[in-house]
């Protein structure tokens, strides 16, 4: 009788424990799901922040490139106008001196060279300005870096050409004295 009673108690207890065990397992699964969801949300947020930083970086570079283009435009135009004005005045003086019988051959040669170099400097300057004006947000990091180097090299060439014009004018004036 006792054995039957004991067996009945064990049998009934199993119905009490199984749901509890099942509930415990379910809670674990829900916990895992939540943790995964949080991880995904964090990753999405990080990706969003990475994109925002990248967009800001590109915007900054575009703004800086535009500033460089504007500065070069102002400077190179100023150099061109100033040097062209000096060339024009010096040519007028040489023409006058020629009519007075003065030998201006060397000065004229140097001045002609200065005129030619000034056109070259202007052209190189325009190339550099064009490069910095054409920055595109769709470019990759490498493409943008290559364009920076190109624009920098073009601007340096233009600058050297303007400096050469200045030196030629100094020589032309010296040979006139």
């Amino acid at each position: 009788m006792h054995k039957i009673l004991l067996a009945t108690i064990i049998f009934c207890s199993s119905f009490l424990f199984v749901p509890a065990l099942h509930a415990e397992t379910s809670t674990g699964k829900v916990g895992d799901d939540n943790s995964q969801k949080i991880q995904q949300e964090l990753e999405a947020r990080r990706e969003e922040q990475r994109q925002e930083i990248q967009t800001k970086r590109i915007e900054t570079r575009l703004r800086l490139a535009k500033n460089h283009a504007e500065r070069l435009q102002k400077r190179f135009s100023f150099y061109y106008e100033r040097l062209n004005n000096i060339i024009t005045r010096f040519q007028a003086r040489l023409d006058l001196s020629k009519t007075e019988g003065k030998d201006t051959t060397t000065s004229q040669q140097l001045l002609d060279q200065a005129k030619s170099n000034l056109l070259s400097a202007e052209s190189k300057g325009k190339e550099a300005i064009q490069t910095f004006s054409s920055f595109n947000p769709e470019w990759s990091q490498d493409e943008m870096q290559n364009k920076v180097r190109l624009g920098q090299s073009q601007a340096e060439e233009a600058r050297n050409a303007f400096k050469q014009v200045l030196e030629l004018l100094k020589s032309a004036l010296k040979s006139y004295d």
């Binding site: 570079r61 460089h68 150099y79 100033r82 005045r89 006058l96 600058r159 004036l173």
Partner: protein, 39 residues
């Protein structure tokens, strides 16, 4: 003399003109360009 009759572009004396050209050449500065902010 009416100042409006003075032609500012009229030829000046040779030495004045040459001195003026020298001064303009010597006062022309070709600036360095700095692109380090784009590096």
């Amino acid at each position: 003399m009416d100042e409006s009759l003075i032609d500012s572009t009229a030829p000046t004396s040779e030495s004045t003109e040459i001195d003026s050209l020298k001064a303009d050449i010597n006062n022309t500065v070709i600036f360095e360009e700095d692109f380090s902010d784009l590096e």
